[in-house]
Amino acid sequence: MTANWKSSSFLLVGILLWSGHSVGHQGDRVLQVAPEDENQAAFIRSLLTSLPLHLWRPATAEDIQPGTQVHVQVPGGHLQKLEWGLQDQAVQHRTLIADVHSLLKMQVPGIHTLSLDSYNYSTYHPADQITNWMVEVALRHPDVVQLHLLGQTYEKKNILYLKIGNRSEQPKKIIWMDCGIHAREWISPAFCQWFVKEILQTYKSDAKVSRYLQDMDFYIVPVLNIDGYIYSWQTNRLWRKSRSIYPGNACFGTDLNRNFDSAWCSVGASRDPCSETYCGPRAESESEVKAVANLVRSRKADIVCFFTIHSYGQLILMPYGHPDKNASNFKELLDLGLRAAEAIKKKHGTTYRVGPPSSILYNNSGSSRDWARDMGIPFSYTLELRDNGTHGFLLPEEQIEATCQEAQAGVMLIVESVHAKYFSGATALASLWLTITASYVAGWALTRGNL
C-alpha cells in the first residue's frame, strides 16, 4: 500500500513537472528541509536533479543524509511543486527566507540611487556598486534576468550571479561566464558588466541574441573573488588571491584559479601559502571555488560553454594547463579559438594568441577552465584581456570600451558557434515535436485520473 502511494506520488510530481504548470512569477524562497530517513534523503536528492533548485547547505547532494539540515533555494514558480512533493513524502520543512530577492535588496544600501540609463561602463566600479547594478539590472529586466546567490566568500559576503534568458519551466542549455576570480584584474568584472549590458540592449532588436536567450541561459558571475576585489580597492591594488587564512600559515590568500579539482597542485602551483599561486590546503578548500563547483556540478549536463575572464596578456587559453593532458576535442577548441581571435583582431587590430597554457604561457593546474572541461563541458576558455604588459593590470579606463568591444566580438563568435552546434534547425524541430507528443501523453494520463 505504502509503496504504491510513494510511486504514484513520484508520478504526480513527474507529471506536474512535465506539463509545465506554472504558479506565476514569485520571489525565490529558501526552505529548510529535514530528511528523517534514507527514503526521504533520496527523495530530496532526486528533487535536486529534476527541479531548478539551488543547494545552500550541505555542499553537495551526496552529503544529504538522514538528520542533515538541508537549505534549498527554490524559484517562486516551482515552490508549489516542491511543497506538494515534500508534503507527500511527509518530509519536515519550513520557510527560512521568504523572499531572497528582497533580502538581497535590503543588504545593499542606496539601491535606488543607481540609474541604469546613465551608468558608466567605461570606469571601474567597486564591489558594492557592482552589486547595486546587478539588482537594478534584475529589476529592470524581470522578463529575462534573475538574480541568484552562488554562495559566500571566506568573509561571508554574498556572491551573486545573473541568470539571463527567456523564462522556461524546462532546464535549458547554459553558457557560463565568471569574472573577477583574480582581484587585481579589474578589466575582468568591467567586461562582465559590459557583456550583460550588450545582451540586454540588443536582445529585443537583434535576432541572433533573441534566439540565444530563447534557447539558452547565460549565467554571469561579475565578481567571484569579492573579498580580494575589495582588498585591491582598499589596501593592495595588486592583490591576486582570496583572503582566506589557515592555521599555521604565514600569509593570507589562496589562488582561486589553482584551487579547482583538476590535477590539483601538480604543476604551476605552489604549496607555499605566501606564494601568488598557492593552491590552498586541499582542492576546493575555498568557499568561492566550492560555490562555482557545486552549481556547475549540478548543472554540468546542460552547460555547453564555460568562459572565465582574466587579464592581462591578450590570450585565448584552452584546456589543459598540464603539459601531459590533452582535451579530446583539442582541434575543435583550437579552431574555434583561432576564429575568435580573428574576430577580435577585426575590431581594433589587437592580436590575441590562442592555445593551451602549457604551450603558450606556462604550466598550471587546478584552474576553473581545466576543471570545467574535466566535468565534460565541451567548450571551456580562459580569456586574458588587454594589454600585453605596457600597463598590465593597471589598464587605463580610456581602454575599457575598446577592450570590451573586441572581447565581446570574440565571445559572441564562440557563443554563435556553440549555439549552432546544439540548435541547428533540425534539432529545434525534433525537440518541438517531442514536447508536443509529451504534453499530449501527460494530458491523457491526467484525464484518465489514474492517481
Binding site: W233, T235, R237, L238, G355, S359, I360, G392, P396
Partner: protein, 236 residues
C-alpha cells in the same frame, strides 16, 4: 638548431628579454621599442654554456611616429652556477628617435629651470591613470625598469613594469638629471610582484643609465584608490 613555434612561451620569454635590452640600450625618453609578431624562432642548445634563441620579428605595420622596431635578436641564457644576465644582440630601426629629439631637449631644459626638485607617486595609479604632466617620468621609469628586467630575466620569467610607486629627483651634480625610483615589477610566470629601487640618471644626449638597483623591502601601500600625484603639480 631547433625550430620553435613563434606562439609558444619559450619564444615570448626570449623576445621579452630582447625588448627590455633594446629599450634600455637604445630607446630615448619619448621613443620606445615595440615588437610586432615573432616570425620565426630557433633554439641553439650550447652544452656547457646555455641556450641561445634566434628571433626574427615581422614589421609592425601599425607603427606610430614614436615607436621603433626590433628586426632580429639573439638572446643567450647562460646555464652557469651563478646567475648572469642574458646576453643580447639585435638589429633594429631607431629612426623614430629623430622625431622626438626636440621634445626631449625641451623637457630637459624645463627640468633644469625648476626651482624645486620634482617628485611624484603612483604612475599609473590604481585606475591606470597617467596624467599628461607625469608621463615623462613614467617613460623614464619604464626605461630604467627595462634594465632591471633585462638583468633579472631567465627562461623562467616574463617581466613587465606594473607601476612607478614613487620617484624623487636628486640634487643635480653635472649635466644629468638624477632620480631615485621605486617601481613594482610583475613576473607573469610566477605571478609575483616585486619592489625595486633604482638610481637613475638621464640626459637627452647620453640616454638613460641605471647606476645601481636593489630589491626594496619597504612596505609602501598601493591601494586601488591611490591617485597619481606630483610635486610641483606641473612643471613651470
Amino acid at each position: 638548431m631547433k625550430e620553435l613555434n613563434p606562439s609558444y612561451y619559450e619564444t615570448t620569454r626570449a623576445a621579452q628579454v630582447a625588448l627590455h635590452y633594446t629599450n634600455y640600450q637604445h630607446a630615448s625618453l619619448f621613443s620606445h621599442f615595440s615588437y610586432g609578431t615573432v616570425k620565426s624562432c630557433s633554439l641553439e642548445e650550447l652544452p656547457g654554456v646555455g641556450n641561445k634563441y634566434h628571433l626574427v620579428f615581422t614589421e609592425d605595420k601599425t607603427s606610430s611616429e614614436d615607436v621603433m622596431g626590433i628586426h632580429t635578436a639573439q638572446i643567450l641564457f647562460s646555464h652557469t652556477e651563478t646567475r648572469t644576465a642574458p646576453q643580447v644582440n639585435c638589429t633594429y630601426n631607431d629612426t623614430a628617435k629623430a622625431n622626438t629629439a626636440d621634445d626631449e631637449h625641451a623637457f630637459y631644459e624645463r627640468m633644469r629651470k625648476q626651482g624645486k626638485l620634482v617628485d611624484g607617486k603612483y604612475i599609473p595609479d590604481g585606475h591606470g591613470n597617467i596624467p599628461a604632466e607625469m608621463k615623462p617620468f613614467w617613460l623614464l621609469g619604464r626605461i630604467a625598469s627595462s634594465y632591471v628586467m633585462w638583468q633579472e630575466s631567465s627562461e623562467s620569467t616574463l617581466y613587465n613594469m606594473a607601476t612607478v610607486l614613487s620617484f624623487q629627483q636628486l640634487r643635480p651634480e653635472d649635466d644629468f638629471l638624477d632620480f631615485e625610483y621605486v617601481v613594482l615589477l610583475h613576473d607573469m610566470v610566477s605571478q609575483e610582484i616585486t619592489q625595486w629601487s633604482m638610481h637613475v640618471r638621464w640626459n637627452p644626449t647620453q640616454g638613460v643609465k641605471v647606476l645601481n638597483y636593489a630589491r626594496d623591502p619597504r612596505n609602501i601601500p598601493f591601494p586601488g584608490t591611490a591617485k597619481a600625484t606630483m610635486s610641483p603639480a606641473s612643471l613651470s
